[in-house]
């Protein structure tokens, strides 16, 4: 099978902006702090180039991909739903269409482009190269892909290209100049999963099935570190190669080991297949996975009793269900659905990809804040300053990021919190996910 990090890490369309994390309603405050050089606000479109803010990028590189009337972003992501789900660039740009119709940001229209990375490191580099050549973007963004991100990060560092990407390992980000991630690291996600096990499944034995890869393994070390401190008993640990296909042997050994909770540190397809085969064996532990509607809707009832739970860097989405845990960001959901009805009415938001479109929409909403905060004289150096100066609070649906906390050794990591979700029977009848806890740093 075409090798890739995982068939659908988080359902294909998980694009970039979630990577950018979110910025609290920084608005005016943020921009004031940045334009030190020229004092007061410059009126957009006025004559004279923006003053050069010395920093990582040279003057020539600093304003590539941004002009007075447009800013270009390019994302490499696994757009592999194929024609059946007709994921096209337009489906992903609904948020920017509405922003552009309302006059853009500081008078600049946002043009977002997408290149398919097919889940493989080689195609990821083809996509990144195409991004640079075709669109000469202001910023390169990396969708979820444990194997694609290290490959493109390698590419971006060599080409001195501003690259903001999804989850990566701690030492993956160490020593990097041009690559940033506003999402929790692989290790942090492992630790949070351990805390989830210690709280929701206190006293229960845990079995781990993990992908055998240096991009995944650090998460398991994080998990075991925290599990040891909080009395979580790990009774089984099994590394599996990519797309193993049949997990019968592992399932039976899990049962023999008496695992009551199973943490599937795998991608969406592998998790779906694993759970399906477990249910066929009459084995129904509590599963902890990367939660996406793609998994829950394909599994249907198998995702319930007991409900599948998991951690994600953004909020769950279930079309038309604004009650309970959705209430706190119901207006965002309504705005999201309204915009889609206006710009892309034929997209089925209730389908398997609905939550991914919402995740992408809310990430773009967060990116909007960042670009806004970058001000009218936005440049790459200024953007990095904004990004690293962020000490934001909760925005509508993406968890806050904080780059100052990482300390001197690596101020390229800004993600510290995630949301806990569980599967439930949505009013529409399909099995979707809903938040249990939103943007928590610790569960203990």
């Amino acid at each position: 099978m075409a090798g890739e990090d995982g068939l659908l890490d988080d359902g294909g369309v998980a694009t970039d902006a979630a990577a950018a994390g979110s910025v609290g309603g920084v608005g005016a405050a943020g921009s004031a702090g940045t334009s030190t050089g020229t004092g007061g606000n410059r009126v957009p479109g006025s004559s004279g180039p923006a003053p050069y803010l010395p920093g990582l990028f040279t003057q020539a590189e600093d304003t590539r991909g941004i002009t007075d009337d447009e800013i270009r972003l390019c994302t490499h992501a696994a757009l592999t739903y194929g024609a059946a789900f007709n994921t096209s660039a337009d489906d992903l740009n609904v948020y920017w269409s509405s922003v552009n119709d309302a006059g853009g940001i500081h008078g600049r229209k946002v043009h977002a482009y997408y290149e398919n990375d097919n889940y493989t490191p080689t195609d990821a580099q083809k996509a990144a190269t195409a991004c640079l050549d075709k669109y000469d973007p202001f910023m390169l963004l990396g969708g979820i892909g444990f194997d694609q991100i290290p490959a493109v990060r390698n590419f971006a560092e060599q080409r001195r290209m501003l690259y903001v990407h999804h989850t990566a390992t701690v030492n993956g980000s160490a020593g990097k100049q041009f690559s940033f991630t506003a999402l929790p690291t692989t290790e942090k996600m492992g630790e949070l999963f351990a805390e989830l096990a210690a709280t929701r499944f206190a006293g229960k034995t845990v079995g781990i099935v993990k992908r055998q890869s240096e991009n995944w393994e650090p998460g398991v070390e994080g998990f075991k570190r925290v599990a040891g401190q909080h009395g979580v008993r790990v009774v089984f640990e099994r590394p599996v190669p990519q797309n193993k296909g049949s997990y019968l042997q592992d399932i039976v050994e899990l049962q023999n080991a008496g695992a009551q909770v199973v943490w599937l540190w795998l991608n969406a397809l592998e998790s779906t297949t694993f759970i399906k085969q477990s249910k066929a064996q009459g084995f129904s532990p509590s599963f902890m996975v990367f939660p996406f509607n793609l998994t829950t809707q394909t599994l249907g009832d198998d995702a319930l009793n007991p409900p599948v739970v998991g951690l994600n860097m953004s909020n769950a989405y279930s079309e038309g269900d604004y009650s309970g845990p959705f209430a706190s960001y119901a207006d965002d959901m309504r705005l999201f659905e309204a915009q889609y009805r206006k710009y892309r009415p034929n997209v089925d938001l209730g389908g398997v990809g609905g939550d991914l479109l919402f995740l992408n929409w809310s990430a773009q909403k967060a990116m909007h804040q960042l670009i806004l905060a970058c001000g009218p004289d936005c440049s790459r150096n200024r953007f990095i300053e904004v990004l690293q100066g962020v000490k934001g609070q909760l925005t509508s649906s993406a968890c806050p990021s904080d780059f100052t906390r990482a300390g001197a050794d690596n101020d390229h990591r800004g993600g510290w919190s995630a949301s806990v979700m569980e599967a439930y029977r949505a009013p529409s009848g399909s099995v979707n996910l809903r938040n249990v806890a939103t943007c928590v740093e610790h569960l203990l």
Partner: protein, 295 residues
């Protein structure tokens, strides 16, 4: 220990099902149909569309799958194999590689990699043996294999046309010299191969759990190929038993070397078995020695 055996047998049926398909086509055409798994998967997408998407009962989906696979195989024989100027088993096998790649890339483009729910004939947990659940679908698949082997066996032995198919596999010229229309026999063999491919996919998918392009064309196909080789690429029961044997061997190896972190250990074992059988027992472990004609 019983657990290892049962796991092995359950997984072995998957290999066995596909191995029967491989052997049937090899017997009839002398070629190895590398696209067998994918023809079955394509049929399964049709079954998915009929059942999961359109909500039809499983049997309608299954018929749709078999019909699609048969049509695909017949079209391949008519458009590619028959007009071939240099028609020998190797050239036909390489042509099936073309069919495999074509179907695979079409499925990627059309259906994408997203896993699709698999149509399941009978739901329910099935029976528990030595701590392992044998789903009703797997039990049904045993019946299907038996039906294929017996049904096909009877058809080939009892009917004149069936006898013609057996004879064509042994001596094509002599078959024509007794008046059997060789063209129709070849078409039948490809059609039957397609049907078996679809049936195999229909009964393998529920155990795998998710339908994606190429799910029956990579791991499963390669192991089924070795199983068919173990069965001497000539005997249908030999192929099925070969599949079971490899299944048990796999679960044994995985259980025995559980700690070693080397991924895919079972494949190393398969490679050695494949080479060993081909070199020393080309007629397969179950395939009897060839009856020497006196000439």
């Amino acid at each position: 220990m019983a657990q290892v055996l049962v796991i092995g047998l359950v997984e072995g049926t998957l290999f066995g099902l596909l191995a029967v398909g491989i052997t049937l086509i090899h017997r009839g055409t002398g070629a190895i149909n590398f696209a067998l798994g994918e023809v079955g998967t394509f049929g399964l997408y049709v079954a998915w569309w009929l059942t999961v998407d359109q909500g039809m009962p499983w049997i309608v989906g299954a018929t749709g799958a078999v019909a699609t696979a048969v049509a695909l195989s017949l079209a391949f024989e008519r458009l590619v194999v028959r007009p071939m100027r240099v028609r020998n088993p190797l050239a036909v096998s390489v042509a099936t590689v073309g069919l495999l790649t074509a179907l695979l890339s079409f499925e990627f483009q059309r259906f994408g990699e997203s896993p699709r729910e698999v149509p399941v004939p009978i739901h329910g947990l099935g029976v528990r043996v030595a701590g392992v659940n044998v789903s009703p679908t797997q039990l049904l698949s045993l019946l299907v294999v038996a039906a294929i082997a017996i049904g096909l066996g009877q058809f080939l032995r009892r009917t004149d046309f069936g006898l013609g198919v057996l004879a064509a596999a042994q001596d094509a010229d002599a078959t024509r010299l007794v008046g059997v229309p060789l063209r129709r026999v070849t078409a039948f063999v490809w059609a039957a191969g397609g049907a078996v491919a679809a049936l195999a996919a229909l009964f393998v998918a529920p155990t795998v759990g998710a339908l994606t392009p190429g799910f029956a064309s990579t791991h499963l196909f390669v192991v089924a190929l070795i199983a068919a080789v173990v069965g001497g690429l000539s005997s249908l029961p030999g192929a099925f038993v070969g599949g079971l044997a490899l299944g048990v061997l796999k679960s044994g190896v995985l259980r025995l070397f559980a700690e070693s972190t080397l991924p895919g250990k079972e494949y190393l074992v398969y490679l050695t078995i494949g080479i060993a059988v081909l070199l020393f027992r080309p007629n397969g472990i179950l395939g009897t020695a060839r009856p020497r004609s006196a000439a």
